[in-house]
């Protein structure tokens, strides 16, 4: 008998555990949710590729027992694009942080959305650069504190859902590490979706975000998720006033559009052998 759950034994590289994440870091929760989604979809692990960038979140790749690629900061989606194009039968899942995906990697994110290439992008959004010790990220709320925002964050944050919608993503959902079951559900749909899907997984960095912003430790941050995030339909029913301080989670976009590798395959079929 192992001292890991079956799920963990099956999808994690247990020899590499314990992972390097701090006590209470939500990245571990979100990563488990992803394996659960993969398990429920019953996909062939040999055909799953995890591509990550650089960041605490991106370290997830090393713990997952698939084909895993830990790339450079911000570039995971571009690498993933090459992999998917080279072998469209692979399920290519990108694990990335808010900084990795939307700061340095913002351009690749929006272009993947535009192309509607069949990648699944999981953004572990803890509203901070965890790996480098707590600098504000493009999703850090206005006025929140970070080590590079000692007087409160001057920037306005991205609403990642709106950003990727504007860029053309065809499946978009937001879940949280607290609402784990729903999160797994979105992840399943995202992976199954043909086209570019984005799941923003609200995660937490108690070490560099929670404490500094007086949201608390690991437990405090989970409580904050519980209190702040409201399922979209419920949120929509709230009056204006009650929405203050609340953020909706759920599925935001789920549409069909021609998928990039499919379009490409058609053209290739048309011209192959022509020269």
């Amino acid at each position: 008998m192992s001292d890991r759950s079956q799920l963990v034994d099956k999808y994690f590289r247990v020899d590499n555990l314990p992972h390097i994440w701090c006590p209470g870091c939500s990245h571990g929760i979100v990563t488990r949710a992803l394996t659960k989604a993969i398990d429920e979809l019953d996909l062939d692990p040999d055909k799953i590729v995890i591509v990550s960038g650089i960041g605490c979140s991106s370290r997830a790749a090393g713990y997952l027992n698939f084909n895993t690629l830990h790339t450079t900061h911000g570039r995971a989606i571009a690498y993933a694009t090459g992999i998917k194009l080279a072998n469209p039968e692979l399920h290519v899942i990108v694990i990335t942080g808010d900084g990795d995906a939307s700061a340095i990697g913002g351009n690749h994110l929006i272009h993947a959305c535009r192309r509607n290439i069949d990648l699944t992008v999981m953004i572990f959004n803890n509203n901070i650069y965890g790996m480098t010790g707590g600098q504000y990220s493009p999703t850090t709320p206005h006025t929140a504190l970070g080590t590079t925002a000692p007087y409160g964050n001057i920037d306005r944050p991205f609403d990642l859902v709106r950003l990727v919608e504007g860029a053309g993503a065809t499946y978009i959902a937001r879940g949280t590490a607290y609402h784990t079951l729903q999160l797994t559900g979105y992840m399943k749909k995202a992976i199954a979706h043909k086209g570019l899907s984005v799941v923003e997984a609200i995660s937490s960095c108690p070490t560099y975000y929670g404490r500094k912003n007086r949201i608390g430790d690991a437990v405090g941050m989970m409580q904050w998720m519980k209190d702040t995030f409201v399922e979209k339909r419920a949120y929509d029913r709230l009056d204006e006033e009650k929405r203050i301080g609340k953020v909706p989670f759920g599925e935001f976009v789920n549409i069909q559009a021609p998928e990039y590798t499919a379009v490409l395959a058609e053209i290739t079929k048309r011209v192959e052998g022509r020269l």
Binding site: F66, N67, T81, G82, L85, N107, I267
Partner: protein
């Protein structure tokens, strides 16, 4: 491809060479004077079941190419100065993660946006030192359309054999010139495919068998689930902070480029030459013209042309320095390979430089004048 004389542009010869070598993936971003490589890849690749994609920038261009290589496709990306600079971070990644890849840099006038439509050889040192850390690289420099074809094939072969990115360092003159070329038949020249895992033992992604120096490559999706990272990593591909491990890993990456078959060069009349021009790429054509003329006039001049620019042909240059009166390094820059030759000559002979970086190619007359000056002053 029929084996008759064709008129072909250097950039097209590169694409034809790549296809000959088995390129199945191209991703890049247009930039003068390399754009034809993208355009022709876009046209040809789908006809051979390959894939072309224009990415959002050069960084994505090389990243996607590395991704495709990891998934098992022979991949290429092409660019020029500014784009070459942008590709450097991920070029370093490919070195570290040992991913085969061909990167073409069709050099143009720099620094910065510089002289986009004019020629230069200003990225020679950057090809070796452009990325941070102690990287290791192969760079090849063709001096004709025909050689562009063959060196592109060679670049793919070396990339696959040594699991490393290989730079084809060409320039605007060669890239844009149209010249006569005879394309080889399929099978006429060797092409190399990366070695897959051995069947009879567990796959160790960064382990090497006794006597080997290059790990075997299992493309993603072929049933060997392992990790690739740009961090220092152990044989299994997992991040490691061990200094012992780091030492072994990086040293092997450097050592593998000592392969005997990597160095390539041309030596023209060097056997009895007193005065030798050392030149490469398009500039070497002016040198050849001049050397031929000078020889006709009885001057003992020669040309040494590195074809493999990096690693530099150390042994050959040292040997040369030990016996000639002067080596004049001629290049379209303010003195780059010159420094390497100076270093290798190690005081054994005088090393001089002839070059500029204003888009103006060196002409044979300049070579002739330079050599005559030497012989007159002797």
């Amino acid at each position: 491809m029929e084996n008759k004389a064709l008129l072909m542009q250097g950039n097209e010869a590169c694409v034809r060479g790549a296809l000959y070598a088995g390129m199945k993936f191209y991703s890049g971003y247009p930039i003068t004077p390399s754009t034809e490589i993208a355009e022709l890849s876009a046209e040809y690749l789908p006809t051979v079941g390959g894939t072309f994609i224009q990415m959002e920038d050069e960084i994505a261009g090389i990243a996607a190419a590395i991704g495709a290589s990891i998934a098992g496709k022979k991949s290429m990306t092409a660019t020029s100065g500014p784009g070459f600079t942008l590709k450097q971070e991920n070029l370093g990644y490919a070195v570290m993660a040992e991913i085969p890849l061909v990167i073409v840099d069709v050099q143009r006038g720099g620094p910065s946006t510089g002289l986009p439509t004019q020629s230069a050889q200003g990225d020679v040192m950057q090809a070796k030192w452009g990325t941070h850390g102690d990287s290791a690289i192969i760079a090849l420099s063709p001096n004709s359309v025909t050689e562009t074809f063959y060196l592109t094939v060679r670049a793919f072969n070396l990339a696959e054999k040594y699991r490393t990115p290989v730079i084809l360092l060409t320039d605007e003159v060669i890239g844009h010139a149209r010249e006569k070329i005879f394309l080889p038949e399929a099978g006429e020249i060797e092409t190399f495919d990366r070695l897959g895992p051995l069947e009879d033992r567990p796959y160790i992604p960064y382990g090497v068998e006794e006597g080997d120096i290059v790990p075997r490559f299992a493309p993603f999706g072929t049933g060997h689930r392992y990790n690739i990272t740009g961090l220092f990593h152990n044989e299994q591909g997992f991040p490691s902070n061990s200094q012992e491990n780091a030492q072994i890993m990086l040293q092997r990456i450097h050592d593998k480029l000592n392969g005997e078959d990597i160095i390539d060069f041309e030596s023209l009349y060097c056997d009895d030459a007193e005065y030798v021009f050392l030149s490469y790429g398009s500039t070497s054509r002016s040198a050849i013209a001049a050397v031929n003329q000078l020889r006709k006039e009885g001057y003992k001049v020669g040309l040494f042309r590195p074809i493999t620019i990096w690693p530099s042909p150390e042994k050959q240059i040292k040997e040369l320095a030990s016996r000639v009166g002067e080596i004049c390094v001629a290049e379209m820059n303010l003195g780059q390979y010159f420094l390497e030759v100076q270093r290798l000559a190690c005081g054994d002979t005088k090393v001089s430089h002839m070059g500029r970086a204003n888009g103006d190619i060196l002409v044979p007359e300049e070579f002739v004048a330079r050599a005559k000056e030497y012989f007159n002053e002797r």
